[in-house]
Amino acid sequence: MATITTKLPQVNRSRFLDQSRMSITVFFRALRRNRAGMIGFIGLVIYAVWILIAPAFVPFDDNVRLDQIAAPPGSRLVLITRTEDAERFRTLSDLNGQTVGVIDNSSGEAMVEPYLDQGAFEVETERFSSGRGIPDLLESLAEGDVNAVIVFSEAVRQYLGADQRAEFANLTVSNAELGAPHLLGTDTQGRDIFSHIINGGTTLIVTALIAGLLSTLIAVTVGSLAALSGGVVDNVLTAAANLVLTIPSFPLLIVLASLIRLDNSLLLAFLISMLAWPVLMRAVRSQVLSLRERDYVEAALALDLGLVHVILREILPNMMSFVAINFIFAVTRAMYDQVGLIFLGMVPINDYTWGVMLYFGRTRGTLFSPDSASMVLSPIVAIALFQVSMVLFARSLEEMFDPRLRTAK
């Protein structure tokens, strides 16, 4: 029996092709089976809500408070009284008519004013110059000049310890629940880190998305142009891609940043994408080369429907999933470049982003101080979790669209 082997044309059957069209229901069903992908997807939804909505609820804290510098997470304002008054003064309303000592902030206004507005208080404010104000205030409380003190918990902790000054032994933290705590502590200027974390992601993520979009756009255009044109155009474009690919992009970015003022995040996104497109371009080119062999593309080419039509209507829809996955990787790479540049201080600081927090952590030495870990750790976690969500989601997409990787149960 002679076996007749039909010799299939040697088409480099790509793993992503022809599987791109997938309905949303099917997508979510596939996603539910993929635990890592689900984690990534939920993470991305959280980040989307975070950068779009959360800043409206947590305004950026730019209020410099010299008495609460680099406080650890959970620090808040407390009410301090002499121990014999501890039972009498438990809340703000108990202080009606009493003399209360508070500390001014750098601009000269009492930082506890929002809490004091509610009642008719007689308030004595004690001027405070970094470090000296708190012991002075506690002294006047111990001597009976004021009946209570409202002060930041971290600032006062060192004075009320067991082995501290004898005259303060008679003082008690009467109410530890005054005001909202600084969830993530404060930075080197006493500003709330949590508000910086909430507000510091929008510019970074939007810039990374723009850079990812630009480089994907360039890659898809140049890649399909090269593959469909062939000949000299293909050779030139591929050579250009190889050239850009070989140049180490991050050092070039630093050199460019030192010569060009990158105060515009669009310009930054453009530069990043100009160095990032070749990886995807080469992949798109080989995808299009194999798609070109398909009957429907050949038919479209034979009908002379025009290059634009062939690319947009015949080829692009069939590698959409591939492009989407690579778009996500382009965004994570843009994030790497961008935060790296900011971390080195090569980008003018317009916006207090997570990257800028890292930059100040490095330059102001908080990186090496055990007490102010939160100032550097918070942006680190925010950036790392964003990158991890992106990559987990992209990898799960890869598995969904690539039957070779799909886990067969």
Binding site: A36, T246, F250, P251, S258, V376, I380, V388, T407
Partner: protein, 364 residues
């Protein structure tokens, strides 16, 4: 029953023609090694040209800035300032830009990268030769470790695919590849250095303990190794995930190949199948990724070396940029590009040795 008669293909007989210069040239262009070399040289030339025009001819370029600086600060005349700048940037001031460019290329070929601006009299090339070996040492150590570890773990993942081991390692690999390497560096400093005090960040600065004289003795070598440990660890953490995932996928597809099944059918030991049949072939595609990874790690070394105060070429690049020492910056950038290009060539040649299909495919 029809039997297929083999169709005899006419054999093309090529008579060896007398080799002329043109044929020799065509053969050369088809030679894989030559093609790789030519591509590398073109890349380096393009980068040199690009940086030359960026630094010399762009509006507000460093040379003009430096000439203005000399005129204002040291009250030189324009001509004095210009010839001083020309000396330091290593070009001939009396020539037109094209001749300047040609002269600059000539000096580059002789290894002359000009003089440092901030410390006049210091040759940039000497500075580079001081810092470059440390980067080559730490980066190649990191790259080799992550490649080996990634290939090893990736093979395990492929053999144990769809088991909890694979799922945990896959998740870890995604995690490692997602988080930027400098973020790993910061985490290591904060968590293990500052909070847990496992090591002292201060004493691990530099490339070796201060006070030691470089020499071939145990104390010095040990110091060199410990100082490189953190940067290397960060390079490994940042790139091992990619190797793991690639090796896993590559091994899984190799395991489905016919020759592996045949090897099993022949009753070969599983160890022999693993080493002689699977791992060798599965590792091949990894070498093509080596080139991209080298560029990425050397590029990222700017941040990592700056973070750990490791005195390599990356931290020297950052130092010269922050000092506005444009001649050093230009020289270092050229050297970084050249080392990436050279390592790419080495990776390509190594790959063509390991996988002859590449060479033959290119010569077809």
């Amino acid at each position: 029953m029809a039997t297929e008669t083999p169709v005899l293909q006419p054999i093309k007989v090529t008579t060896p023609a007398s080799p002329n210069l043109f044929q020799l040239f065509r053969q050369l262009t088809k030679n894989y090694v030559v093609r790789v070399m030519v591509q590398a040289i073109i890349t380096i030339w393009a980068v040199i040209t690009f940086t030359f025009f960026l630094i010399r001819l762009m509006p507000g370029n460093p040379v003009d800035v430096y000439v203005d600086f000399l005129m204002n600060q040291q009250s030189m005349t324009y001509d004095e300032a210009y010839s001083r700048a020309a000396q330091q940037f290593a070009f001939d001031p009396d020539a037109n830009p094209i001749t300047q460019y040609v002269g600059y290329m000539g000096q580059l070929v002789r290894g002359d990268l000009g003089e440092s601006i901030t410390s006049p009299g210091t040759k940039v090339i000497d500075q580079i030769l001081r810092f470059l070996p440390w980067t080559i040492f730490s980066v190649s150590w990191g790259l080799l470790s992550s490649f080996t570890l990634g290939a090893f773990l990736g093979t395990i993942m492929a053999y144990k695919r769809n088991t909890p081991i694979d799922q945990v390692l896959s998740f870890a690999a995604s995690l490692f590849s997602a988080v930027p390497n400098y973020i790993w560096g910061l985490m290591i400093i904060i968590i293990f250095g500052v909070q847990l005090n496992w090591f002292s960040v201060g004493t691990l600065r530099g490339t070796y303990d201060t006070g030691l004289t470089p020499g071939f003795n145990a104390e010095f070598l040990l110091s060199v190794l410990t100082h490189a440990l953190l940067p290397v660890l960060v390079y490994v953490l940042g790139s091992v995930g990619g190797w793991m995932l690639n090796m896993r996928n590559s091994t899984i597809s190799t395991l489905g190949e016919d020759y592996v099944n045949v090897a099993r059918a022949r009753g070969l030991t599983s160890g022999r199948i693993l080493f002689a049949y699977v791992a060798r072939n599965a590792a091949l595609p990894m070498f093509t990724l080596l080139a991209i990874n080298i560029g990425f790690i050397i590029g990222g070394s700017v941040i990592i070396e700056e973070l750990f105060v490791y005195k390599g070429i990356g931290s020297f690049l950052f130092w010269s940029i922050s000092q506005r020492d444009y001649t050093s910056m230009q020289g270092v950038f050229l050297i970084i590009t050249t080392s990436v290009v050279v390592s790419n060539v080495l990776a390509d040649l190594l790959y063509s040795r390991l996988d002859p299909r590449v060479r033959i495919g290119a010569e077809k």
